[in-house]
Subunit: 343 residues, 4 copies
């Protein structure tokens, strides 16, 4: 089986690799068609580890994928050979306490593609549980299907926030996650979403493609004034998507009494939280870990044209040029959101 | 003061009426600009009562209104003379248990416009609490402002349903309330909304103006098949907006396990509920009484163009022709959603 | 293997039966020690069916059990041979949508002990998933462990009601389910629980064993007056545990604005619901199907002495006398709550 | 009118003071019977300010009180002269957005007893809104009634945590607030509550009076081991009641995936929060500001003997000895929870 293998730090190869996978009765076999490159793929490529997850053996990369089913297990009923699908990349223990409680994403035993020592999906084919494999609606393309994984994070953030129709949200950070959060918040009932960053390139991509979102370069513009113009008492929802260390010590000035915050960005170290500021407005802070049960619902909103994911794909490469694509993505290009690989 | 007065059953007059209203420090005085005719106005006109509420004295009609502020009380800070506004028509006891708990709509002492013995707003001017008076955004017209009252019912239904982004909803009944519920559900994160009725006229208005909504005439089409095509396990949310007596004995076939239902329609008598069918899918049934805290959020979604309320206004009359307008609305016209009166 | 077999209507035998069960890696094998007799066991015994579930083949009865582990699968970590345990009797498809969403009790494919064609647990031993097998705390006896199944229904009702500390609840029906609901409501933060029935025998058992619960014979006492004495605006929570057909047409007089109702009783046919009465107080109606994720939490409250389940066991028989026990239970004894069988 | 007046830092006097209060139609006049001394009273006494609230003028202290009604306004229906009552000390603007939304505690205009420039209740009499005045049940004494104010904070913390029956909680901090939180958590459905502190005196008071609570001196005992013994996956609820600066950087090790934390303690400055640790377990963090709508529910649980507040009162003084009582309370006595003043 051919695959994109991270051999060691800074060294990728496209080569044959021997991965034995049995097709259990509840599994399907899939041939990938599109795979997006994620920040975590790049991080493993450049640094060989994320936190405690260390690449000690050659590992296939990739976890944002769509593909075609080539084989199905004998218990599988809702999918058939030839179906166009996308996949949720984390496989929990299906008989764990977390799974039984509907929070399988928090199962400590979860196996997640391209998180060492689990191989990713940038290879000829792979086996996956049918329950984590989602049929693409006819009007959703493979490349759109491959964006569902990052979109699911934004959708889950929006769901966690328990948005009420008409709420106003502020998103800090215009990276991929900030953008998918902003468009998910709009799709989930927000009447207005402000997104703030300090880099014009990202904000410009948003301005061009998502005119409903208000963009603010916080270096040039007084964000608090922008907020108070549209929400005099403060925003209903605050999404933190930067992971920057000063965010939580000052954010309460932007929010209304009774507001909710969702912490999505992952600061490297503990960061200062203004507890008394939160208490004075009784802010509730939600945190999220990836997503849970969000793929089907994301697909529905892409299919209904509520979520427009096409502008997220800013660069395209073939699977054969995957190494070139990774090198590009690793160069921290400011005009890129998602680099997509095609079969 | 001139007003549209319901003298007795079937007898309206436009005449002077003496209503003394003092402007308390937290109040504003308003001159109405647009007033929509509601089904309850028509019901009092034709039958002189709704349930225990009986018109024993001449009563001014109207409770769906927008207007201009002409005077403000000395404590009022957020509004000023000349402001364009719309009004929430129910005034609770502000020091009641219900108000303190954020459910002032359920305060038994609430005084609601055009609900006997409380006069409505179809008169030269009226006094209203500032906290129940909402500034219209610049891009929201008086006629749009006058639709906020019925829209708030749809918005509140959508909020009660705790819609998750991507949910699929079924609305039974294509009357005014069914329509405002359907557009509110879409605005609140639903990926798809099906609306069913047995009258083509109403469904056609929807089809023309709200193409995102799937319309079904349940007399001609198998609704269950339509539902299963878009939601094989059943819909996530069921909105009952007919009040018909057979709805709750059969609806569970349309919904998925864990679904939510919102009962908006008001059946004249108790209706049969399939309790065991609900239990087998653990359906939660929400009921609503008008709305609470929904005016500002509705205005935000109208202003952001997420909610398009203009198609709701199907007939227009001047205040001077109000009696003619009531006669028309009382004739049960099938091509009407909302009859609007203009100053 | 020896078992209590329902051969056909009204015919039980204790005899050898051949049940082949393989121990999968996630399973344990258990030898039962105590088994309670449930109303559904009696119903199959007397009528051979419940709804669409028909006993066409001889079937082992029993689903409320505690036991000792005699063998464990190779993946099982949290349990060991010799552990004292109780078991959740419904086995879902672990890779279903419902399980992934944390509502495995609603999985249409669930296999539930002693629900045809699935054998129950009144036999020498059985195999069960470890994740549905719960270690008894040291201070919880086998007989207490065997009550967890019915207690879980009361606990789940209490959880569904989202009781706030200090709430007042009214439980209609003093059968087993009414009682476990009442004690669960008290354990979950209710300051007061009123239970109403029309049979003194059941109420007397409660009066003697659970003095914190207020008992009302609704034939002799004005229930509304009792309610208004302790909760002038009405109760916060209404638990319907009778399944009687007139309950939902009149209950709203007992509840406060914003109240919650939990429908636990299972009426044979659809019953009249006072929709407008519910709307006027915005009552939310929850329904439940068995329970989900309640065994461990029930055990904790039994172990902490918050839930006293011992008075529930009113009659005791040995496994050898199981047929006699069933005959007794089938005679509708008024002084019985739970008939318990012991090894 | 005689009152306990804070003249300036460190200077109290009992003297006549002229406070004009009109009895509005919705108000009652009350003569206090018991008043507890709060940490904030002591703080103003010793430092003359808390944050931005500065004592610039002589101010009457006291806000935890019970009393007898001596006069009622003409609209007051639920209370009468002679009623024994306790009072919620914060008076919001009843026509504010926060009040309408049921979060009147967050109204920026709230007037709170003994928070400058608002006088407290340690005086002969005061006027108060009837809606914030609560009748004591017959079996609740004045001194118990005067504990409702601090108890309401614990009750509100427990309510915010959305405790499910059977949950296990960890409370950090055994001060007054830690204790009322711990007993409220037990009353709200927790099967077990662990309270940790580093001072034996406070823990000993708990050990003697509340045997159901597990006390841990974290200096001598490995708290993590204690937690894992009762909750191998971690506790369901974490209550932070110390305000210490290192708590939020390390607490996630104590909690289970999907846990909830309530931040009650008020750190002087922003404190380090382990965001990634929270995300890995998707911890939700609630913050609270005083309480909202908790007095009646607290009284119910005191009346039902679920909440035993008597042990909270550790020292007793007469109103005439109030200055002595303040001096004692200001000396940071380790054997004190609540110092109570009696008429």
């Amino acid at each position: 089986m051919k695959a994109l293998v991270l051999e060691e730090i800074n060294k990728l190869s496209i080569r044959d690799i021997d991965i034995k996978e049995e097709l259990s009765p509840n599994d399907v076999r899939i041939e990938p068609q599109c795979v997006g490159i994620c920040g975590s793929d790049i991080h493993y490529y450049k640094y060989g580890k994320i936190g405690d997850f260390i690449v000690n053996e050659p590992m296939v990369l990739g976890h944002e994928a769509s593909g075609i089913i080539t084989e199905i297990g004998k218990n599988v009923k809702n999918l058939k050979v030839g179906d166009r699908v996308c996949m949720e990349p984390g496989i929990p223990n299906f008989q764990s306490e977390e799974t039984m409680n509907g929070i399988y994403n928090l199962d400590p035993e979860i196996k997640f593609w391209a998180t060492p020592p689990i191989h990713g999906c940038l290879r000829n084919s792979f086996v996956h549980p049918a329950i984590l494999t989602f049929k693409l609606p006819d009007n959703v393309s493979f490349e759109e299907g491959a964006t569902v994984e990052p979109v699911a994070i934004g959708m889950y953030s929006a769901k966690k926030a328990k948005i009420e129709p008409g709420d106003i949200a502020l998103v800090m950070g215009a990276g991929t996650i900030g953008i998918v959060t902003a468009i998910s918040a709009l799709a989930s009932g927000c009447s207005k979403v402000i997104i703030a960053d300090i880099k014009d390139e990202k904000l410009n991509i948003i301005k061009e493609n998502y005119p409903a979102i208000t963009t603010v370069n916080a270096l040039n513009v007084d964000l608090l004034e922008v907020v108070h113009n549209v929400a005099p008492r403060g925003v209903d929802i605050f999404f933190e998507a930067t992971g920057a260390k000063n965010m939580l010590s000052t954010f309460t000035k932007y929010v209304r009494p009774g507001a909710k915050a969702v912490l999505i960005g992952m600061p490297i170290e503990p960061v200062a939280l203004d507890v008394v500021g939160c208490q004075a407005k009784e802010v509730t802070l939600f945190t999220i870990f990836r997503y849970v049960n969000m793929f089907e619902k994301s697909l529905r909103l892409i299919s209904s044209k509520t979520l427009n994911v096409k502008p997220l794909i800013t660069q395209k490469y073939s699977f054969d040029d995957a190494i070139k694509a990774f090198e590009f993505a690793a160069s921290e290009p400011q005009d890129a959101i998602k680099v997509m690989l095609y079969k």
